[in-house]
Symmetry: D2
Subunit: 160 residues, 4 copies
């Protein structure tokens, strides 16, 4: 069977917006991630983010990760998974595994970009992370997903 | 912060049993996967499956994947994710991405074992797959997870 | 720095031909891998193989893997690496790791295709494998590389 | 066939030393990578590095990557691979692919540690990188390998 793929671009943009993430927030991460390497304009960064968000692999990872966050927030996951995710437990690695689908599309050079953003937590990544650790909503997957979109967008620019 | 890890072995065995999967079903996949390579006893195969199920990485992947199947079965996922998962759509790859956490622990040789089981669908893998495609419950993640546990258990035996 | 990428398509086709692998051999693997799923013509299969071979990630993996085989054949690798590679040692997994660069480009569904070809060893894969195990030249990387190109080409068709 | 695995620990330590890398250099990266997270002693860091270096997957990745650097340094690689590696071309990603074998052993949390070291290039990583970019020897693989060993050693500590 061959697949006629629908493009879920509008869906994933809406889901990100509903979680307080604008595409310009992600474009800022792209610019931040490339400082000291290349001087990127926000226009080029935003365009690359939009390209990444048109990829089926990225869309599925985003839809799945954001749904898990929301289900954890609604306390709908079975135990002990619920606790592992809502506490963002240090050895829980499925969030980082899932974003490999996004990173994989633009090759291995995106992994380094991802690790850099994930450790420094600039801009929206830090805000999402702080929100959860200050007792706010579950953002276990979304912070990795946002970093991965930005990392893939950087790799895409480097490849072009 | 250092983590004192709990072992969720009993939890994941119960979850698998609740979905109709016994550890002996997985051990049979181990024996099947190694036929024409080595002649494995069910005892050695079962012991290796149990070792894999004590790994934190495997436990998190199993708990997460089985929860997604159950939430899809209960129609609790947001659209369009709900439809992509309950129809086991051919380009949806998050199930295969998640099981990489299980396969990674015993190295790259487990990927081949996984692909072989995933394509031939012997024993319990075929039964889970048929159940879903015959209008039964959602098994989108569990069939990959069961194949991955067996693939990792084979790689663990090869490494020892 | 932005990269102006050269396309090494002609180089990698020549390298494969020099090792006795024609693109039609790989196209045959594509058709074999999809039997019982879709009925592919050799034309569609060959076209997809050619598309994969235009990807930078695939080109680098191919050039690197084939070079290692050749250096092992010429006995130019340091010990104990030389022996591990020329004996195609069962736990040596760098060959399978490298082909992940090829498989990654078309997403996780290509891993299953790869494992299936790698275990069944149809056509050219079996011939390369037999040559080495019958005392012929070192083919430790090329058999995985050829399977991975075919696996990626299958995934590319499924995505379209 | 079951494999009786030899431990190549002494071999890989010698190879690293021959390239000017001491295990204490890597232990320093472990401590650096965890600053602001946990306060690690050099003893704990060094012990974890030694554990990582006993893993077959790590040993094969190290032996292979260092051999490629040395062959590039000796101008023994075929073109155009020789130029892509000795110039450490920005889109060449096989070095980062290979170190996934090291990172995979201790799970996905090591990827972030790797990206952080790879971008900040502290200590020995920076020295190796500078040497190549100042016209010294080819260090295309070794800088990633050293970062990956340190990243895996950090993940191992977090898991314990």
């Amino acid at each position: 069977m061959l697949f006629t793929e629908r493009d879920y671009y509008e869906d994933v943009v809406t889901m990100l917006n509903d979680r307080g993430v604008q595409l310009t927030d992600i474009a800022e991460l792209v610019v931040f991630g490339q400082r000291n390497i290349i001087d990127l304009s926000m226009d080029i960064a935003l365009d690359s983010v939009q390209h990444v968000l048109h990829k089926t692999e990225a869309q599925d990872a985003i839809m799945t990760g954001l749904a898990i966050d929301d289900l954890a927030e609604a306390n709908l996951l079975p135990q002990p998974l619920q606790t592992r995710i809502d506490q963002d437990h240090g050895t829980y690695g499925v969030d980082e595994q899932i974003v490999m689908s996004i990173l994989g599309v633009y090759g291995t050079i995106s992994w380094t970009n991802f690790g850099y953003l994930d450790r420094l937590k600039p801009g929206i990544v830090g805000r999402l992370n702080d929100e959860q650790h200050n007792g706010g909503r579950v953002n276990t997957f979304i912070d990795d997903i946002v970093s991965a979109i930005a990392a893939a967008a950087q790799a895409r620019i480097a490849h072009d």
